[in-house]
């Protein structure tokens, strides 16, 4: 192993040296979607923020730079020389290091082992002491302290992030890219992370910081590149702009609100159709911790939060997929804490999960069969020995078909549906069931504009029909447009209930738990 790792020397600003990383005219299409539209990007020294809202193309651009996707057109240059980056290994060989939003560590391996896997000149016989010494050395230097012999799966999220940063540093990266690094961090950890960035910058590492948060840009970045709808809109020094200008660049005009959804409701808290009281749950991921929730008929309750704070578990707990360890689940005042999924469904609770195709529909069964499955007992005859298919077809014709969705023939296997159609079918199927409560988890995620509008319209209609809708979403615009009241979720509990008209920055503060920077 080399005695010292090469660190990039600090560059004087405004020097004539070519930028360490440059992209010219990058284009990337996914079918008819133009994700990256002739983007030019020139990495300036210091911290360079890449700013844009969800779907602006920042992640795709970076994936191209890191070799995960090939660009359809365009060039990448390193130190002025054009290079081919065909895989992440290529990118790493060229000194580009990327720290993802989610943890990409192997949980069962220790910190040392996870880092060792990426060391470029790892000897056949592992020298744990040497690697640990390097880890401690870099850790002290940049404020990334972590115990090398702990298994990665036992580390907290901030600790895992530190290991990922150490990993790219020790792998010899000269250029560091961070993809939304603060999205899962609580407030005090964000400060610590910013300190790390400053130390890295002072040591000469050019840093690309992908974010959609303005406060971060002003706290850290020397330069900011704004992307919107796949194009690079502007690249400016942060000292030369203010918030309003950046918002203008990010959104063009003020973002149009899809439709007005908020209205007066006479929701009585104690007459709630569904309640969760101080619920601790044990499910697939982040457990719920003392969560309280009450839904009244005829309202849309939106739930906002950073992904990974228990949204999936909340949905699972309401519909019965996650076990309640303590606390109660009440349906119409009755204690439903121990009910099976089927019983909860038959009591009028519907669920449209994140990806209907993978999580709710059975791919090798026809659409009709999937409809029957959703209410199997209702359609069964002779004690389950046969299924009343004519009744299923009637449900299809009269209720599902009338919802104004564009659905294919019910004999097709559901595996042939597109993601958008599957989402629509799942929603239609649930809505045809006379629901009291509808739980939706990221319902319009990844859908095109037309389908999104159709789905949102259905949610509103359900609400108008007296259904209580729990809308868990990452899209703040959607939440603000549709919700009658807005709840904020963090670390497994509901931490706030606010007016849907609350501004985005205040919501962001509540979602991440503190002042930024």
């Amino acid at each position: 192993m080399s005695a010292t790792l090469q660190r990039p020397s600090a560059r004087a600003t405004g020097s004539a040296a070519p930028p360490p990383l440059e992209a010219r005219g990058l284009v990337k299409r996914f079918g008819s979607l133009l994700a990256v539209d002739h983007a030019d990007f020139e990495l300036r020294p210091g911290v360079h923020a890449l700013l844009g809202e969800n779907g602006a193309g920042k992640s795709t651009l970076v994936k191209i730079l890191y070799g995960y996707q090939p660009a359809d057109e365009g060039q990448i240059l390193l130190d002025g020389q054009p290079v081919e980056i065909r895989s992440p290994a290529d990118a790493r060989a060229h000194g580009i290091g990327l720290v993802f939003q989610q943890s990409t560590l192997i949980p069962a391996l220790t910190v040392t082992e996870n880092i060792a896997l990426f060391l470029p000149d790892l000897p056949p016989l592992l020298r744990h002491r040497e690697i640990e010494a390097k880890i401690e050395d870099f850790g002290r230097r940049y404020g990334l302290v972590v115990s090398p012999d702990r298994r990665a799966g036992t580390l907290s999220l901030p600790e895992q992030q530190r290991v990922q940063i150490l990993r790219v540093l020790l792998a010899g990266a000269r250029i560091l890219i961070f993809d939304e690094p603060t999205s899962t961090l609580p407030a005090q950890e964000i400060d610590a992370l910013f300190d790390v960035f400053r130390r890295l910058r002072d040591d000469g590492y050019p840093i690309v910081l992908i974010t959609h948060r303005l406060a971060e840009v002003f706290a850290l970045a020397d330069t900011v590149t704004v992307m919107r709808r796949g194009s690079v809109v502007a690249t400016v020094e942060t000292a030369d702009v203010d918030e309003e200008r950046l918002v203008e660049l990010m959104f063009g005009a003020a973002p149009a609100v899809a439709r007005t959804g908020g209205r007066e409701t006479d929701a009585r808290r104690d007459g709630g159709v569904l309640e969760l009281q101080a619920v601790n749950s044990a499910g697939q991921g982040r457990p719920l911790f003392g969560l309280d929730l009450a839904l009244a008929p005829g309202e849309i309750a939106g739930v906002a939060g950073v992904a990974g704070n228990g949204q999936r578990e909340l949905a699972d707990t309401v519909v019965g997929l996650a076990r309640i360890k303590s606390g109660r689940r009440l349906l119409d005042g009755r204690d439903a804490s121990k009910w099976s999924v089927r019983r909860i469904r038959e009591a009028g609770v519907g669920f449209v999960p994140e990806s209907a195709l993978g999580q709710e529909l059975i791919w090798n069964m026809s659409l009709r069969e999937n409809v029957a499955l959703g209410s199997a007992r209702r359609f069964s005859r002779f004690g389950g020995l046969s299924v009343d298919w004519p009744a299923v077809q009637r449900e299809w014709d009269e209720r599902i078909g009338k919802l104004g969705l564009d659905l294919p023939d019910p004999s097709n296997p559901s595996g042939t549906l597109s993601g958008g159609n599957a989402q629509r079918l799942a929603l239609a199927r649930e809505l045809a069931r006379d629901l009291r409560v509808l739980v939706t988890l990221y319902p319009t995620h990844g859908l095109d504009v037309k389908t999104t509008a159709a789905v949102q319209e259905l949610l509103l209609r359900a609400r108008d029909g007296g259904c209580a809708v729990l809308l868990i979403s990452q899209d703040l615009n959607e939440l603000k447009a549709l919700s009658d009241r807005l709840l904020v979720m963090r670390e497994g509990r509901i931490v706030a209930e606010v007016d849907p008209q609350t501004d985005v920055y205040e919501l962001g503060r509540l979602m991440t738990g503190g002042e930024l920077g």
């Binding site: 999960p353 059975i362 959703g374 199997a376």
Partner: protein, 355 residues
């Protein structure tokens, strides 16, 4: 095998096959059969015998004589049960490798009834034995299913280990408290009283459970396609998480499916003891459970294919015995061929998925 797929990939033929999926399936089956026949011939050649002669013998003795066909049907009965023992749990994603043990467990309970209630009339004793056989095998497999449903232990391990426990239990009883004092050198139970012997079909060696076996296959097929429970089973098989989301009680089905499969295997055990061997001894099953696993995999766990696959393997097994007698070929060839067939099918399925 891959060369066949590779030539099939040359365009005009491939396009035609895409348009005629039935012909493609038939073609695939024929190519598998061809490779199977080839493999068998090669094995026979290795032993210095003539494949043609061997196939002639099979045709003459197994497929065209009444005795030969009887032999095939006799072998088919336990194999159908054991194949279903694998197929039913397989439809919900469970791997029941312990069919052999379930046969022994069922045989054990049924034989226990046979040698205890020797004064009962046949119309009482035989159904009781049948129920005991089903209960024995069903409980044995159901236990493994329950441990799996609780998330404690994969049924792959538990069923394998429990197989050995069941076989040893039979040994312990047959060498010990159930041992027939009059049969000195071979440990086995006393011979079953006439009331405990399953009747046969006419004057053949085939016992009446063959009707139950065929019935079970067709019933399962109908069950899967027509009933609400079949819908839910197919849902679990397609996507267990989605099925759970739809309210299907997956854990309950796991236990029930394993128990149903094990029950059928247990019935096979009862039939072996009661119809053919008339005693319980350590040789209750010469590997029916494992062969059942093979058959079910060859059939893709599809009840409609299980009957032809069982027929094929029964013919193979029968032919193995015949060729051993007439040509001096070792019977182990049949095991080898069965394994090769399974590998061909496994590989063939992957090619289809990749294409």
């Amino acid at each position: 095998m891959s060369t066949i797929a590779a030539t099939l990939r040359s365009n005009p033929l491939h396009d035609w096959l895409d348009d005629h999926p039935r012909a493609a399936t038939a073609g695939r089956w024929l190519s598998w059969a061809a490779v199977g026949v080839l493999a068998y011939s090669v094995l026979i050649l290795i032993y210095g015998k003539s494949p043609l002669h061997a196939f002639q013998e099979i045709w003459a003795n197994t497929l065209t004589t009444s005795y030969g066909l009887q032999d095939v049907l006799v072998r088919m009965t336990p194999l159908l049960f054991c194949a279903m023992a694998v197929a039913i749990p397989a439809r919900i994603g469970q791997v029941n490798v312990g069919g052999e043990g379930q046969v022994y467990a069922g045989g054990l309970l049924a034989s226990g009834m046979a040698i205890t209630f020797t004064s009962w009339p046949a119309w009482l004793l035989l159904p009781a034995m049948a129920l005991a056989g089903i209960a024995g095998g069903g409980a044995w497999a159901g236990l493994a299913g329950w441990m799996k449903a609780r998330g404690w232990l994969s049924e792959v391990f538990s069923t394998v280990l429990m197989t050995y426990i069941a076989i040893l239990a039979v040994s312990a009883l047959v060498y010990g408290p159930w041992r027939d004092p009059t049969s000195s050198n071979y440990p086995q139970t006393p011979q079953f009283v006439p009331a405990a012997r399953l009747p046969h079909v006419g004057s053949t060696r085939i016992d009446v459970t063959i009707f139950i076996a065929f019935g079970a296959v067709f019933a399962f097929d109908w069950f899967l396609r027509r009933t609400r429970y079949g819908l839910e089973i197919r849902a679990i098989g397609g996507n267990p998480f989605a099925a759970q989301t739809n309210g299907v009680p997956v854990s309950r089905y796991i236990v029930l499916a394993m128990a149903a499969g094990g029950g059928l295997a247990g019935l096979a055990g009862m039939a072996q003891a009661s119809a053919l061997q008339l005693h319980l001894n350590t040789g209750l099953s010469p590997g029916f459970g494992y062969l059942g696993f093979l058959i079910s995999w060859l059939a893709g766990h599809n009840p409609r294919l299980i009957v032809p696959m069982t027929f094929l393997l029964a013919v193979l097994a029968s032919s193995g015995d015949i060729l051993q007698i007439t040509q001096g070929l070792p019977s182990a060839i049949v095991n080898v061929l069965s394994a090769i067939l399974m590998m061909i099918v496994l590989l063939g399925r992957m090619q289809r998925k990749a294409a």
